[in-house]
Symmetry: C2
Amino acid sequence: MSVSPSLSASLIERFAAIVGTGNALTEPSDTQGFTQEHRDLYHASTPLVLRPGTTQEVAKILKLATETGTAIIPQGGNTGLTGGQVPLADGPPAIILSLTRMNRILDIDAVGGTMTVEAGVVLQTIQEAAEKVGKLFPLSLGAEGSCQIGGNLSTNAGGTAVLAYGNTRQLCLGLEVVLPTGEVWTALRKLKKDNTGYDLRDLFIGAEGTLGVITAAVLKLFPMPAGRQVAIAGMKSPEGALELFRRAEALAGGGLTAFELMARIGVEFTARHIDGVRDPFAEPHGWYALIEISSNLSEEAARDQMEHLLSAALEDGIAEDAVLAQNETQARDFWHMREALSWAQKPEGGSIKHDISVPVAAIPTFLAQAEPLVQEVVPGARIVAFGHLGDGNIHYNISQPVGADREAFLAHWDAVSAKVHALALSFGGSISAEHGIGQMKRDELAAIRAPIEIDLMQRIKAAFDPAGIMNPGKVLRTR
Amino acid sequence: MSVSPSLSASLIERFAAIVGTGNALTEPSDTQGFTQEHRDLYHASTPLVLRPGTTQEVAKILKLATETGTAIIPQGGNTGLTGGQVPLADGPPAIILSLTRMNRILDIDAVGGTMTVEAGVVLQTIQEAAEKVGKLFPLSLGAEGSCQIGGNLSTNAGGTAVLAYGNTRQLCLGLEVVLPTGEVWTALRKLKKDNTGYDLRDLFIGAEGTLGVITAAVLKLFPMPAGRQVAIAGMKSPEGALELFRRAEALAGGGLTAFELMARIGVEFTARHIDGVRDPFAEPHGWYALIEISSNLSEEAARDQMEHLLSAALEDGIAEDAVLAQNETQARDFWHMREALSWAQKPEGGSIKHDISVPVAAIPTFLAQAEPLVQEVVPGARIVAFGHLGDGNIHYNISQPVGADREAFLAHWDAVSAKVHALALSFGGSISAEHGIGQMKRDELAAIRAPIEIDLMQRIKAAFDPAGIMNPGKVLRTR
């Protein structure tokens, strides 16, 4: 590691000169918004936040960083959940490079189905811009109002539309990346097929800013479905939800645009704490599925499929109850409940959160086996499991026992995680399905993977970032 | 480059001992089937063909190769079109590592939708095994009866189903790879989502055997559509075909499982030379589209969509004529015509072939502008353009003028290619949409890409294969 132990005033000045002093923040009151993240898990400061306005400024910053061995942390909307975008408490002083000012939509090609954007464009802005030209940009997640596409790409973000459209990696055709040396790789390509050498694009996507800074991207746009139907079904068990998912997939194929699972307690939490959410049924059910079916043909075609699915599921006793959103407002309300699940845990005290995936068919068994493991560590812990059943991806979140001490509960995080992750791995699963590694899961990743896999990643890291300046200590240990 | 200038008898013996002498071929009469490829463009011999039966044998071979600086060329079904799988005429002596004996299907999980296979399984065998459990493995291409999945993965093969299902990269969940050092990276994962570190899988996919040897893979299986309809439409122009494609896509969405374009002359060639193919219409048309629509619901639903598409296209004057396959036999005949196009060029003399892609909307303009450029170099050349219009990928093939000398015509390959590729690039296109780089396009790739891009690839190559033994001189120049 050649990262310098401290950042001198003169070095800060040289960096600041690149972006102009107005875009170089050093006061703790100014930088705090960039170092604090939503979960309040990481607490470290930065001597400098830089807010470049152009790719050329980013290039100059990285060139100077490599020359001086200065650590750089790229940051988008600061919504990451594994601490990838904030400083390490035990790391070298690191500059936060905020892409927020690079927020231009450079091109929309409705005919070709592409949008070219700078890294700092907020996801919701992209969704809305696509809609304006009658297209769909399907990436959708809770933080869409503030997360930025550069961060989505760097973490290969998932969300609720992965089932039909894939994760962020599948939604990207081309990239512009500034390398640690300050060189710019411009590959803003719009091609569906291009087999010309190594897949550099997919290497930068999901690298969490450790190999370079994504400054722009070409995104895929999709036809806006002609019709969309949203429903909620109540079931006794995850087995029922899995069977309903299989039927929905067989019926709607690629038209099944979401299939989300929610435990009863999550529905209770949202009804209790979130404005505008109410229990969708008179009677409680053990588990709930939010189902979205889209059709390229018509609203009626989507409704026909949904009604067929639900009435058969009720008849066959797979679902105990089901309700189809009667209009767009109700559909939004259903989605609001699902999206608010994580927030609804806050008023209930501390939460220990997981982002595991297993093969889809293993989800019921995983859920059945995980709960006693957790209860063994924290008796009375409340399992608020929910997530993307169709992707095999469950946010296995755990709220503290009623009345317990928050900090004492959170002190069990590692012990609980160890059990939950070991169980997921026993199914051939993942410890991070969509949130990435960041600083939170770095050492765990190294522990669960064969040395050769970590070594290959380290070789790539060393080849792309020999000075070790790019988000050091994230994903991989510095060496 | 540390590759040794010659292969001694004792070294050949050491390699042969790993697989057993019966699986080590040295006689030219035995090795010739591995060095000659379909297009007969490359002519170089090998001192040794090794046919390992296990991953462990592959590992031992690569370890010894790295220790002794011996070049290794991995080979599947030897159907590659850019010379990636055969020796370089000006390269070091290189061992061909044939994966043919590693042809076991290791696991089929119909419920989870995965199949785990060794690299040497023939594509058609995989398709048939999927079908037996009621599933679809969609990868489909002309060579499917002999190409192997390891080669498909290493070249990120495309084919006719990319439109709906993606190329080989999108069809793979996990890999087992033997590294040049002999270490084995085992990542036969079955997860839909897994954000844990750099995307090594997609780096090996499409690397054409230059970073390691893919020995096994987990493939995605899809629901078998309930119904499938195939039709051929005749049109005046590529513009008409593009408009028909847009309508088909809007109507069928992900159910549009193929949209292939064919120039009139290609239809003539197949009717003339291929058994069982006849002109689908009484009158000739300038261009033809083969359209396939699949439905998860029923045969009727697919037929309804196809009939709706075709009748509207006829009414609106977009198609001049159209015919829907009346049964499975006729559907297969239509596909046979499309798949035989490349072969039907053989009896017409020499052909210069291209595999370009451009943004879909640019295809008519590309076709209009390319022809005069070709005619300028070779007056009377016959343009047999066809391919995956929906992917923006055209096989811009050129048959020699009637009565011309084959060799004299082929001598124009580079001059013609330079013009065709420059035109594709002017649309932001690719010089190799699905066939890869191999030896054929290596220097051209280096010439058209920014130095930083080639340099990044070289850094990866050096990091993974420091001894430079893996398929040296393919994709990238050795350095």
